[in-house]
Amino acid sequence: MAEIKTLTDAISELVHDGDSVALEGFTHLIPFAAGHEIIRQRKRNLTLIRMTPDLIYDRMIGAGCASKLVFSWGGNPGVGSLHRMRDALNHSWPVPLKIEEHSHAGMANRYVAGASGLPFGVLRGYAGTDLPAHTDTISTVTCPFTGETLAAVAALNPDVSIVHAQRADRAGNVQLWGITGVQKEAVLAATRSLVTVEEIVDTLEPVPGAVLLPSWVVDAVAVAPGGAKPSYAHGYYERDNAAYRAWDAVSRDREKFSAWLEELVAP
């Protein structure tokens, strides 16, 4: 059963130095508040897993939380590069960063395999591309029925998965809707899980197309209103595209970033 906790307590209890941690949310419902709390608590040596690192991992990498990044598309969508991620890769600033790179289809199937309790996922993918030569969690498997060679990708089973949702009830059942990405798979694949929510309600009214995570597959629920900003929460607030554009200048410059970080962690 999910316990309802403060965000501070939930991060402190569930995320440990050296853990593999997935913060998912495909453009929508990105758990920024949880990522910022991980920065504040100065977690270190994390393996950060996420299909689209986005601004939140740019920040966590720049703050020195990560030693490894597992991903499939690392940019500021529609704007440009993630400069903190690039600085870590090119100049080991503030600490060296290793990468494990996939395609979206590969990452999605790694989560599906992890959620399904299987050691690997199978797909038609990567054939003829240069990624398999650089990523050892990509291989091939021969179909026992047709003899066809298919791509195999190692399952992802993060130590902790963190997602943001619109709401939960008092028992800790979680409801999210709109673009739901790989959040369900990420939570079910993980050893431990935390969901931050916009609000806690008495009754979860049904919403078309919603994903429901039962309380018994979630370890902790924390209330974090606005916790997905500057991404968005469908039905609550819109994506702050101006903030995404403005991040570019902060991210480009170590001093501007350091000033941003100082403000974030200030008591």
Binding site: F26, S81, L123, N241
Partner: protein
């Protein structure tokens, strides 16, 4: 350059003559890309130039174009252009929203998408695309965003269209990293690799149109935009660009209507 040429001609033309339209090379590219999308096609759209062109086509000749973004928004009809592939406007105007594993496994992989619409940082003579690194993988001179959905879009869509600005640094003999396979390096490569779609059948740039040679699969010049010369295109191409054996097709200049609609497209939050 096109803008300068056009302005010059409008100065020179008689006041009573039909007005010469003033447009940029980027606008010509978006219009040419939009025209290439047939009404009713199911189209997997990347952000940026492809998204602009696909949304332009939907407002012009292709109202029944089905747009799918990798965020899982299926048959979406946004009133403004999204900044990212997962903006709220895409979910609000979609027929349905599906999960990301479903997008790739149920819709893309089995060949349910007619056209994949891609762009890239580097493109080579066989239509292979690089969006991963410039230079060596372990010590790149430029780290690019990476694969995203592109490798499987390039593999499994019925056909692929590429829209890219034509620059010497981008149109290279061989890409530094094959992120998404075009035609590999030989005519039989796609079949050998088990790639089910036909691969890139058209590359639309701000200078003209390239299509693979039916025999060798090497990209050749098949069309030119107004005011552009073959020499200009060759100067911006990193391999000895062959001309199609057929006569080059001149791209008709954008119409007033096409330009009006293109310029009316606003990106969310701008």
């Amino acid at each position: 350059m096109l803008t300068e040429l056009a302005s010059e001609s409008s100065v020179l033309s008689e006041p009573a003559a039909a007005p010469v339209l003033d447009y940029t090379a980027d606008e010509m590219m978006s219009v040419a890309a939009a025209r290439a999308l047939r009404d009713g096609a199911v189209c997997f759209v990347g952000i940026g130039l492809p998204s602009t062109a696909a949304n332009l086509a939907r407002r012009l000749h292709a109202p029944s174009l089905v747009l799918i973004y990798e965020s899982g928004t299926l048959d979406t009809r946004p009133e403004e252009l999204p900044l990212s592939i997962g903006d709220g406007i895409l979910a609000d105007s979609a027929l349905t929203v599906i999960s990301v594993p479903e997008v790739f496994n149920y819709w893309l992989q089995p060949g349910r998408i007619d056209v994949g619409f891609l762009s890239g940082a580097q493109l080579d003579r066989y239509g292979n695309i690089n969006t991963t690194v410039i230079g060596e993988y372990d010590e790149p001179s430029v780290r690019l965003p990476g694969s995203g959905g592109a490798p499987e879009i390039a593999a499994s869509c019925g056909e692929v269209m590429i829209v890219m600005r034509h620059r010497l640094r981008a149109f290279v003999e061989g890409v530094d990293f094959i992120t998404s396979v075009g035609h590999g390096s030989a005519p039989e490569d796609r079949r050998r690799l088990g790639l089910t779609g036909a691969g890139p059948l058209r590359v639309i740039t701000d200078l003209g149109i390239l299509e693979p040679d039916p025999e060798t699969r090497e990209l050749t010049l098949t069309g030119l935009h107004p005011g552009v010369t073959v020499e200009q295109v060759r100067a911006e191409t990193g391999w000895p660009l062959a001309l199609s054996p057929e006569p080059l097709i001149p791209t008709p200049a954008p119409t007033t209507r096409e330009l009006e609609v293109l310029r009316s497209l606003r990106t969310v939050g701008q």
